[in-house]
């Protein structure tokens, strides 16, 4: 099996202690990162005479992270160029690199896609475990087994970690793995940046989790949106939270720019805008947000860090700052962020639906316009998160109306669903089941969102469990169900094996039923006045909360079925999957499995639309030139 590799002069696989500790690999990177972090912490603590050590901790995290990334090899190419050497080739064959490529810098977008998928799904289960702990605490009406401070830390860890997961789970894995193949490119536009975006993710997650240890501050108490001035006054655990969050934001921005450029400049000949798969269109729509929104977040987090470490008082009212600055900056990022979660889910749903309906996607152009419309309008709605904060009253009607108007382009995907289902001949396979469940969940999530856009109603529902139910329906019910659908759909392409059907059915029914029995009551308790992030609640809500907790545990177990299914099907299943089990027209299914390192020997010419199912006269999507006449790659390989 041939794989693309970085030309960093790394030796082939084979264990030796010398190679483990003296070359650039994950082990040495971790060691150098930790040592550099400790030294930087010590230096920072010496410089900082005013405070409780925020400067040292921030410096330690940042320098440690830089040490890790440089040792892993991200500076190699820069150093080569500075020394006047020719840059390493991007497509260099390295035979038999095997599993070690998954633990280093890989310039193969498929390897990075797997890295993202495995890493982020692990983070999903970690953060899901926190959700189970939260639900355990809420079994008790006046505070459960965890003390109040630990409960808030749990909520913050769950929220922030799930934010990391939701930002990257579809873009990072499905986007990185399949976008170059879908558009007929051999690689991503910036493979090194792609690897860099991935390695920021475990770094960010590790830094976030390091905050729970007492030496790093013992947790943080601000939830996921880190409102100043609470985050300025919080314990030193907050330093890790802001650094980790900033890393993930940076990763999202880098991945966004990368995918955007790839789709814009590296499409195969004949891949016109109207022939592009709808998932690639969803990536275009989402990457404008992903590239432009997180820098605002990073700026706000840097300002919080400066307020903490050097007392710059951007957000301290007593020194002339204001918390409104933080709230506006955060939600200017925060609202596009939630569409970063959901638009790829639309893309995956509409990508998978026609394959199993055996009919063309209804309203392809309108769906594309809808996703682009959501993407553009999402910049103009952020103040609906702070209706009660005392923003100028004149702003409220505008943001209320704008928020309600965004449901028009969003609703278009339901028209695409209905039109595609119309007189289709459905094949009820697992990916389709999850897509249908996704639409059902998102219908509830979307309609409850309209409640929250209304200012008078928002006064009652804001900061309550209604909001929590709403965004769990959209993120968990739609985005994570899209992850399930994508897993069951593309698993045979990635691994060459089918997912187990019986376990899959069990997973589907338990996930769909227990998801809804868990989160529908959220709307009730929210309407009845249950406040978020609070371990205590009114006595009359005790029964409902016990019901929610039990169903949440069952939903958690259902996710374990998914995990078991993936591991079992990947590692223990013997038989090979058929080359194109779903009879899909899309290009990735026309390639051999596993997909070769450079995807295409010859770049195909795109001659047909991707969704002409049911048409006996439809042209194939792609034509491969004869072996003699190889077409040039759309960008010169350097």
């Amino acid at each position: 099996m041939s794989q693309t590799a970085i030309a960093s002069g790394r030796a082939p696989v084979g264990f030796s202690a010398r190679r483990l500790f003296l070359t650039q690999n994950l082990v040495t990177a971790c060691i150098v990162g930790i040592v550099a972090g400790i030294i930087a912490y010590w230096v920072g603590a010496q410089l900082d005479t005013t405070d409780n050590g925020d400067a040292g901790i921030l410096l330690g995290y940042i320098v440690g992270a830089a040490g890790f990334l440089i040792t892993l090899g991200f500076a190699n190419d820069v150093i080569l160029r500075l020394r006047g050497r020719p840059s390493a080739s991007l497509v260099k064959e390295a035979e038999g690199k095997g599993w070690t490529q998954y633990f280093g810098i890989s310039l193969d977008h498929k390897v990075v896609g797997i890295q993202f998928a495995v890493g982020v799904v692990l983070m999903f289960f970690l953060a899901g475990f926190q959700a189970m702990m939260i639900r355990t605490d809420l079994l008790y009406q006046t505070g459960g087994p965890w003390p109040a401070g630990q409960y808030t830390t749990l909520v913050g860890l769950h929220g922030l970690m799930m934010m990391f997961v939701a930002t990257l789970v579809l873009i990072g894995s499905v986007g990185n793995y399949f976008i170059p193949i879908m558009i007929g490119a051999k690689r991503m536009a910036f493979p090194r940046l792609e690897a860099f975006a991935f390695w920021l993710v475990p770094l960010g997650a590790f830094i976030l989790y390091s905050t729970i240890f007492a030496g790093f501050g013992g947790g943080f108490n601000t939830g996921w949106y880190l409102y100043a001035p609470l985050s300025v006054e919080a314990r030193t655990g907050m330093d890790g939270a802001i650094v980790g969050f900033a890393f993930i934001g940076t990763a999202a921005a880098i991945a966004g720019i990368n995918l955007l450029v790839t789709i814009f400049v590296m499409r195969a000949p004949g891949m016109t805008w109207s022939r592009m798969p709808i998932f690639a269109w969803s990536m275009v729509a989402v990457e404008f947000l992903s590239a432009l929104a997180p820098p605002v977040l990073a700026t706000a987090l840097i300002m919080v860090g400066m307020d903490r470490a050097v007392h710059s008082s951007f957000f301290e009212a007593a020194a002339g700052g204001t918390t409104f600055l933080y709230e506006e900056m955060f939600w200017f990022f925060g609202h596009p962020e939630v569409y970063i979660f959901i638009i790829p889910a639309f893309g995956i749903a509409l990508e998978i639906l026609p394959v199993f309906a055996r009919r063309p996607l209804f309203g392809y152009r309108l769906s594309v316009a809808g996703m682009m419309g959501v993407s553009m309008m999402s910049w103009f709605v952020w103040n609906h998160h702070i209706f009660t904060s005392g923003i100028a009253p004149g702003l409220r009607p505008f943001f209320m109306t704008a928020t309600e108007f965004i449901s028009i382009p969003t609703g278009v995907v339901f028209l695409a669903l209905l039109g595609t289902l119309w007189k289709s001949s459905l094949r009820f396979k697992l990916p389709l089941l999850f897509v249908l469940a996704l639409f059902f969940n998102f219908l509830i999530g979307g309609l409850t969102g309209v409640f929250l856009s209304d200012v008078p109603l928002d006064t009652t529902l804001h900061d309550g469990f209604f909001v929590v139910g709403h965004f769990h329906y959209t993120i968990l019910g739609a985005e994570i169900f899209a992850l399930y659908a994508a897993t069951y759909y593309w698993f045979p392409k990635i691994t060459g094996k089918m997912m187990n059907e019986r376990l899959g059915k069990l997973h589907f029914w338990t996930a769909f039923i227990f998801f809804n029995t868990t989160f529908l009551p959220f709307f009730v308790v929210g309407y009845l006045g249950m406040i978020r992030r609070s371990p205590v609640y009114a006595a009359n809500l005790h029964g409902l909360n016990i019901w929610i907790s039990i169903n949440a545990f069952l939903f958690g177990l259902s996710n374990l079925i998914y995990l078991i299914n993936v591991i079992y099907s990947w590692a223990f299943q013997k038989e090979r999957a058929p080359a194109n089990p779903w009879e899909s027209r899309s290009i990735e299914w026309q390639l051999p499995t596993p997909i070769p390192a450079d995807n295409f020997d010859r770049i195909p010419t795109i001659v047909g639309g991707p969704y002409d199912y049911g048409d006996p006269n439809a042209r194939p999507v792609a034509e491969w030139p004869d072996s003699g006449g190889s077409l040039p790659s759309p960008v010169p390989a350097t």
Binding site: G223, T322, P393, V455, P456
Partner: protein, 278 residues
């Protein structure tokens, strides 16, 4: 023939289900937060309107989707492509968009009407409160959020400070909400009031109480360690009472809390505490 039939049948089913659900919403489902204040009236009414819209739209989409699922189970895969050619349909798409625009405009209008009188930056009293009989001489109650309790000052009665919230019915009440430290959110559930308490900012909100009620006060904004316990629930903590009961409570409170007044900072719209020492 069959095409029309397969659109009319689900439409009829959806209409029946929508009407049943909507009647239940109006006549059976008593949506919170109730009718204790004019703001609560607005919230309950808009909640009903939005529930009706959401239920009708949601059940229509679900009915059509489920009907099409059953229909597709009977459609053979080899059906001629031309007969079911439905890649785009201009009229259908335009109708869908037009329907959603109308619904959205209606929903927005409901919200804007409820906001009437509140939209001016000059803090105009809500129109619904004026319609209920409010006059322009509000009782001013200052709500001060701090870690981890709310206290209330009554500047028109000497500025005493208490942690019991007592409000009169049938009189316009002006909340001046501020914070001494981090952001809190003063949320009084039965009053349908939720105003963020932000240090350095005086957030103003109005409420006009129509009938006596218990007031559950909670902090809505995560404010640190004991955020969850920053609740005042039950009549001991908050209560809306008649005007005469309120007058007697004020004289009692002035007697009890008044002597501590000289220890308090002078009444102001915002307070800057000394910077916290680390």
């Amino acid at each position: 023939m069959s095409t029309k039939r397969h659109l009319i049948i689900p439409a009829i089913i959806a209409a029946i289900l929508a009407v049943i659900g909507d009647l239940l919403v109006v006549f059976v489902l008593h949506l919170p937060p109730g009718h204790a204040t004019t703001a609560a009236n607005d919230d309950t009414f808009t909640g009903q309107v939005f529930t009706i819209i959401s239920w009708s739209v949601g059940i229509a989409v679900v009915t059509f989707a489920v009907y099409f699922l059953f229909l597709s189970a009977r459609t053979p895969e080899e059906t001629s492509f031309r007969r079911v050619y439905l890649r785009r349909h201009l009229g259908l798409q335009a109708a869908w968009l037009a329907t959603s625009v109308v619904l959205v405009l209606f929903a927005a209008e409901v919200g804007v009407v409820a906001l009437e009188g509140q939209v001016s930056p000059n803090l105009v009293v809500p129109a619904s409160a004026l319609a209920a009989g409010a006059t322009h001489d509000p009782l001013i109650v200052q709500v001060i959020g701090q870690q981890w309790q709310f206290t209330y000052r009554y500047p028109q009665y000497g500025g005493f400070e208490t942690n019991q919230l007592r409000l009169p019915t049938d009189r316009l009440i002006q909340f001046d909400v501020t914070s001494l430290d981090v952001s809190h959110s003063f949320s009084a559930y039965q009053l349908a009031v939720k105003i963020d308490a932000i240090s350095g900012i005086n957030n103003v909100g109005y409420v006009y109480i129509l009938k006596p009620t218990v007031i559950d006060v909670r902090c809505g904004e995560l404010c640190g360690l004991w955020h969850g316990y920053m609740t005042d629930v039950g009549s001991q903590a908050g209560e809306a009472v008649t005007q005469s009961q309120f007058a007697s409570w004020v004289s009692y409170a002035q007697r009890v809390y008044g002597p501590q007044e000289q220890n308090l900072p002078k009444f102001a719209l915002t307070y800057y505490p000394a910077p916290t020492t680390y």
